[in-house]
Amino acid sequence: MNGEKRSAAGFGAIGVAAAFIFSIAWVVSATADPSWVLGSSYVSDLGVSDVSLTKDIFNYGCILTGALIMIYGAGKAYAYKNAECASGILLVFAGFMLILIGLIHEGEPYHRAISILFFIFIAFAIISAGYSDGKAGRMLNAAAAAFAVSAALMALFGISVQMGESIAVIGALAWIVCDGMKLILSRKIEASNKKTRKVEA
């Protein structure tokens, strides 16, 4: 596989788990707080909710997911090279920012700067992995990256900042699932291709 140094299937599974954990934390915390409305409230509003269940699940969810994304990014950087490695390093930074979002809540100093940095790191991680996928011919992954980035930008400039933020998080989660699956399946695909080439020879 183009750009891959060693297997990262385990790290891919961690990425997929991170996306699922954050999705569950987000849905559960948003359901528990009826005042939170998709597209009208910021995602970070859940971290300072009046409902303690919402606040706790969201903040601990951010910390846990951030840590998992850091491990996932480190694994990606370890297993791949070039743009894919850069994407892994950017994911480590994004994961760290997500941990900080769980610790430094909305309204506290630096929260806004941390949130913006999180979105910048994740956007560049997606773009750099999308570039690498496109170059290597993994077009489904490249399409997932293009979908995540363009949907977030369209919602941000076409609807509202709150909706743009939510769509960006949904897009990033969908991309992490696709990218994690790529890491899980990459060695199996390579092995199956080798087998086919052997049979053909």
Binding site: M139, A143, A146, A148, A151, M154, G158, I159, I167
Partner: protein, 121 residues
Amino acid sequence: MSRPKIMKAGLAIGLLGGIISMILVGYAWDGSFQSITNVGFSLLVMALFFATAGGFSEGANMSGKSVAIIAAVCVAAVLIATVYNTQFLWVHIILMALGVAEIMIASSSEVIYYTDANRPA
């Protein structure tokens, strides 16, 4: 090398998506200034569906990989149009399914190979 049959399906799906979006443009326009955003989103979706269909046509001057990216941006535009205007939810869901089918077709190695090999110089 003959044109893969799946490309003809991609062309048909792209044209169908474009025509449905064109009908949505007509429905979205109610003469008011507020309806311009709905019209704009439908126009964007229509343009992207027709662009994807164009990528599957014979002698398209587009690299094989670009078609999948345009189809992905098309699905993103459909998603945003759905979120912005839930008036025709089922139509938007159908458009999204058509867009996903376009991505799947465009990602096929057979299609990428044929498109790149038959690109006009």
